[in-house]
């Protein structure tokens, strides 16, 4: 098993290098003539107006938070699913209770209008 993780570690290094080397190469090969108009930030072809921050809507954060809750739940469920053969009925019901609590929570959030985009 150690060699499997070794593969992943080496693969990580290689996969970080594989796009990096062509990007560096292209940087060397390509022309480099920056001027202020080319380098200016693109805003539909006109000059930038205002600071570069946007009206941050709370919806982004809410979707991220909902995703976090379900993500943690799912990570808990993976070992439960793997150990399914040796689980007693109690174990299966405990897992299903876990999922059910979050299912009801999703429905409650839906009712309260959390999952809207507007």
């Amino acid at each position: 098993m150690q060699s499997d993780w070794l593969f992943i570690a080496l693969f990580l290094l290689i996969v970080a290098a594989f796009p990096g080397v062509p990007i560096l190469l292209a940087g060397i090969l390509g022309p480099r003539r920056p001027n202020s108009i080319k380098n200016s930030v693109y805003e539909c072809g006109i000059e930038t107006v205002g600071n570069t921050w946007i009206q941050f809507r709370i919806q982004y954060y809410i979707f991220g938070l909902t995703f976090l809750v379900f993500d943690v739940e799912l990570v808990f469920l993976f070992p439960w699913a793997v150990a399914f053969n040796s689980l007693s009925l109690f174990g299966v019901i405990a897992g299903i209770l876990f999922i059910l609590i979050l299912f009801i929570e999703l429905l409650a959030a839906w009712r309260k209008g959390v999952l809207e985009w507007v």
Partner: protein
């Protein structure tokens, strides 16, 4: 020194440097990015300890969800994302002394624990750690109560999200 030890020291040093940069960086988003590097280092440590599941779970939850939430919330603060106040205040010698004392104390306390320098016990070859973990999570004399309480905790987090959306309205 074995090769694995050298690699471990290098990664440990990198993680510590990244953790330091989280606190030192002036730009908030840079801090968040260094935090991601630190969390990734921790995931690699889990891999060293042959806890593959935790390494991957760390990446999924911390880097995939929590770090993204950090970046979102950093961008939610509408003030300037650059912190131009002086980095070091006048009480820094006392702070340094306290930090060293604290670290030394904790290290000394750990030294009195006999298992501090012990190696992890070798698991039986056919023991499937994932299956053991799954069994432990739902067996009544192990961790089923914290398991269910965790789901209630997640419900509490969702209620936080509901509250946020409520406020907006």
């Amino acid at each position: 020194m074995a090769l694995s030890q050298i690699i471990f020291l290098v990664i440990a040093a990198a993680t510590l440097v990244a953790a330091l940069l989280v606190v030192i960086s002036r730009n908030l988003v840079h801090s968040a990015l260094w935090l991601i590097a630190t969390l990734f280092g921790v995931a690699i440590f889990y891999g060293f300890l042959s806890a593959g599941f935790f390494a991957v779970a760390q990446v999924v939850i911390y880097i995939g969800a929590i770090a993204i939430l950090f970046i979102f919330s950093v961008m939610l603060t509408r003030r300037l994302m650059q912190d131009n106040s002086p980095q070091i205040n006048r009480g820094w010698p006392l702070a340094l002394l306290l930090a060293i004392l604290f670290f030394g104390g904790v290290l000394g306390m750990y030294n009195t624990w006999p298992e501090f320098a012990a190696m992890a016990p070798e698991m039986a070859a056919e023991a499937n750690p994932l299956e053991q973990l799954g069994l432990a999570l739902v067996s009544p004399n192990a961790y089923v109560l914290p398991f269910e309480l965790a789901s209630i905790l997640l419900v509490a987090a969702m209620i936080g999200a509901i509250y946020l959306a409520w406020e907006k309205k």
